[in-house]
């Protein structure tokens, strides 16, 4: 029985908890991509950099608060700086829309031109981030690091395996639940949310019904800014902030959005978790797990690992390709590609 419990704890500690927190970060990112895709109808390559920008502003304010000795006790100071980061990110989104994207929207450019434009925006934001904060890895999480340490858990339960719970993981999960609930409530219940859904569904019909497209777009950028900044900050809080990493994060985010069915917010969230869990599950070495479960005569000799961890990122693209081959509209029917 304890062996069984131990194996469960191994799974929880190395797969489920990291999977949920990484999945939440991806889900928030993918939700932002999906919003841009559904309302503005293009693949926003700059999304990773927008996330990075939000995280950067949050870090700058965190440093400011830390220097002023303002803190939240056991919680990371970044939470206090997050609203300011969100505001800055929203401003960035709206500026980039006003000066760049709006023109092409009025021109009714094809999506691929807008995608190119977003690459230009990506370069500019990328440069701004590097100029302001450099390319070093930054750790900005403070406060209490662990809610439960592996050792504590072992003493508490008497099991062999420890269960560590980082506070950044718990914060990630809580904030994600909060934000997702709010977003879906907003989409389903409020008038603006309904008009956004209508606009995404059929633009011409929405315009005929008197929906103001500029307002819909404005609201979209606000939501995208909030989601991007929170996702970026949470990722940085969890794994330390590195400006270059966000460019690599764009592809798993796109993969999540497409796997779930692009243009479908619920799909994006599910896609995020699907991608996160498959990345972790395919590259995890299950040896420990089987050692507890199987009798000693059957114990595995190798690591029981499907793919080496080097291929972590490759997994998400492979899933993307497979999904596009088998079910191009994604798990939850998004737009047909």
């Amino acid at each position: 029985m304890t062996d069984f419990l131990n194996s469960i704890i191994v799974l929880l500690n190395f797969i489920i908890i990291p999977g949920i927190s990484y999945g939440s970060q991806l889900a928030l990112g993918a939700l932002g991509v999906t919003f841009v895709y559904a309302i503005l109808r293009f693949a926003n390559f700059a999304h990773g950099e927008i996330m990075s920008f939000g995280a950067m502003i949050t870090i700058l304010f965190t440093w400011f608060f830390q220097s002023q000795n303002i803190g939240l006790g056991i919680f990371p100071t970044a939470l206090l700086a997050l609203p300011l980061g969100i505001t800055a990110t929203i401003i960035l989104c709206i500026i980039s829309d006003k000066f760049v994207f709006q023109y092409y929207r009025y021109q009714k450019s094809v999506p691929v031109v807008l995608a190119m434009v977003s690459i230009g925006v990506m370069f500019v934001i990328n440069a701004i981030i590097r100029i302001i904060i450099g390319t070093e890895t930054i750790k900005f999480s403070d406060g209490q690091k662990f809610i439960m340490k592996a050792k504590q858990f072992k003493v508490m339960t008497g099991l062999n395996e420890g269960l560590a719970l980082k506070s950044s993981q718990v914060i990630t999960i809580l904030i994600t639940i909060l934000l997702l609930t709010f977003t879906f409530w907003f989409l389903q219940k409020t008038k603006t949310g309904k008009s956004m859904r209508a606009f995404s569904d059929n633009e011409d019909l929405a315009l005929l019904s008197g929906i103001n497209p500029d307002r819909v777009v404005f609201t979209t950028w606000i939501i995208v800014g909030v989601l991007a900044c929170v996702a970026g900050t949470l990722y940085g809080l969890d794994k330390s902030y590195k400006p270059i990493i966000y460019l690599n994060l764009v592809l798993p985010i796109f993969a999540s959005a497409i796997v779930g069915g692009i243009g479908s917010p619920f799909g994006a969230v599910v896609g995020g978790y699907v991608i996160a869990f498959s990345e972790i599950m395919v590259t995890y070495a299950y040896k420990k797990f089987f050692v507890y479960l199987l009798p000693s005569s059957l114990e595995p000799t190798g690591l029981v690992q499907l793919l080496s961890t080097d291929y972590k990122f490759a997994v998400s693209f492979s899933i993307l390709v497979i999904v596009l081959l088998i079910r191009p509209s994604g798990i939850f029917k998004g737009r047909v590609l």
Partner: protein, 456 residues
């Protein structure tokens, strides 16, 4: 091929830029930039062929470049007999099994009609097949990677002259492009962009981590050059005579014998470097002109006309009986092959293969900026874009330093802002690239040298 006046202007600008740099920063710098410009121009032509002719987007540039680089290693590196002995058979068996597995899956797909049974059988077959293959494969690769890991640890190549790899690189890239095209070309353009970007990441991560094949992150160094080495030149009589002859007027002024020898030695060292770079430039230029010639021929041929028809209205072209899917695949493969050639040339120029150096920002997005800025659908535009963008990519740093120094001239040299700005000079090039792309897309969406509209 007749050039318009503005095209001559563009060519003149390109040439005079290099002469300018040659006088300001030295001919060596100028030639280094020129070599990379030519390679960039070839990459850009490759992308331009698929995007400009037929509207097929290819964001997998990085992957195809890496395949070209792999070709350079596999063609030119001398074979490592020991690795073949320890691991060759295991690898052979696993590849044979892989082929058997693929054939078996295809057979099942054909024979079994019920969809559910097909899926179950296939997944079982693939699962157990891979388990068996893994056994042989991991053993073999492990053995290979254990062979003298400090300098070898991989299979090596064929030991042929590296110049053959330029063709092989094209073929490698074409092979990968064929598979990608078969899988993904049915998608809408922006999804195709994402998918090709993703697959190119997969290609690079395979090259990074399959050490038996490419030595992975340990890099392959010391690839043989197609041009002479500086040290050989410095000891060759004909080269010393050439340098003496070229600088005879200058050398004759120096009366003291030992001084004269000193000056001559310096000139020979400088000259050998320039000679090597110049020979590279000539080789690359030949390749570029060949590709340019055929790309233009193809564009003006009936086939090129069909490609434009498909690009401009796929449905109509389809209705006229053109096989759109097939043509898309063909042009995607051709474009990728040219990028692969450029990839092999890139590794040839560097003499080393570093899989971890392939990053999408540098090797996919910059190339796309070149295409957009130069003018999609125009080969001269592609070359121009390659030259101008690479040139500004390199020269952005000195320019930024100059601008920052001018702007902050009133500040103390120890001013924190000034120091910070000067520290981040290398990052300003991204800003320039982004701004150039945005400005071109806004005010000259067809590029600097747009496609010529032909009415015939």
């Amino acid at each position: 091929m007749k050039f318009e006046r503005y095209e001559w202007l563009a060519i003149t600008i390109m040439i005079s830029l290099f002469i300018f740099v040659g006088f300001i920063q030295g001919w060596s710098v100028s030639l280094v930039i020129l070599n990379m410009c030519i390679i960039s121009a070839i990459m850009t032509m490759g992308v331009n062929i698929s995007w400009g002719y037929a509207g097929v987007i290819n964001f997998g540039v990085m992957g195809f470049l890496a395949m070209g680089g792999l070709a350079a290693v596999l063609v030119s590196y001398p074979p490592i007999a020991e690795s073949w002995q320890t691991g060759g058979r295991g690898l052979g068996i696993s590849f044979a099994l892989l082929i058997v597995l693929v054939i078996a899956v295809m057979y099942i797909n054909k024979v079994i009609i019920l969809k559910r049974n097909k899926y179950i059988l296939n997944s079982l077959l693939i699962f157990f097949g891979i388990l068996i293959i893994r056994h042989f494969y991991l053993n073999a690769t492990h053995n290979i990677e254990d062979v003298n890991p400090a300098i070898a640890g991989f299979l090596g190549g064929l030991g042929l002259p590296i110049i053959f790899s330029w063709i092989v690189g094209g073929l490698f890239a074409a092979g990968v492009a064929f598979v990608i095209g078969k899988v993904a070309l049915g998608l809408r353009s922006d999804y195709l962009a994402i998918v090709t970007l993703g697959i190119s990441e997969i290609v690079v991560s395979i090259l990074k981590h399959e050490e038996w094949l490419s030595r992975g992150v340990k890099n392959v160094i010391g690839l043989k050059r197609p041009v002479p080495y500086e040290i050989d030149l410095q000891n060759a009589d004909w080269f010393i005579n050439l340098i003496t002859y070229l600088h005879s007027s200058k050398l004759n002024y120096i009366i003291d014998e030992s001084d004269r020898q000193q000056v001559l030695n310096n000139l020979i060292i400088d000259g050998s470097g320039i000679f090597v770079k110049l020979s590279y430039a000539i080789l690359f230029l030949i390749v570029m002109l060949i590709i340019f010639y055929f790309a233009n021929k193809a564009q003006l041929s009936p086939w090129g006309r069909m490609m434009r028809a498909i690009r401009d209205n796929e449905t109509a072209a389809n209705a006229m009986g053109k096989d759109v899917v097939k043509q898309h695949l063909i042009i995607f493969v051709i474009g990728a092959a040219i990028v692969g050639v450029a990839g092999a040339m890139l590794v040839t120029l560097d003499g080393l293969f570093t899989p971890s150096g392939y990053r999408p920002l540098r090797f996919t997005f910059i190339i796309w900026i070149m295409v957009i800025v130069g003018g999609s659908g125009n080969n001269l535009g592609a070359i121009f874009g390659g030259f101008v963008i690479w040139f500004s990519w390199i020269e952005a740093a000195p320019l930024t330093t100059f601008i920052i120094n001018q702007l902050t001239i009133g500040l103390e040299p120890t001013n924190a802002l000034k120091l910070h700005l000067l520290d981040s000079v290398p990052y300003f090039r991204y800003l320039f690239m982004g701004l150039i792309l945005l400005l071109i897309l806004r005010y000259r969406p067809k590029g600097i040298i747009p496609e010529k509209v032909r009415h015939s």
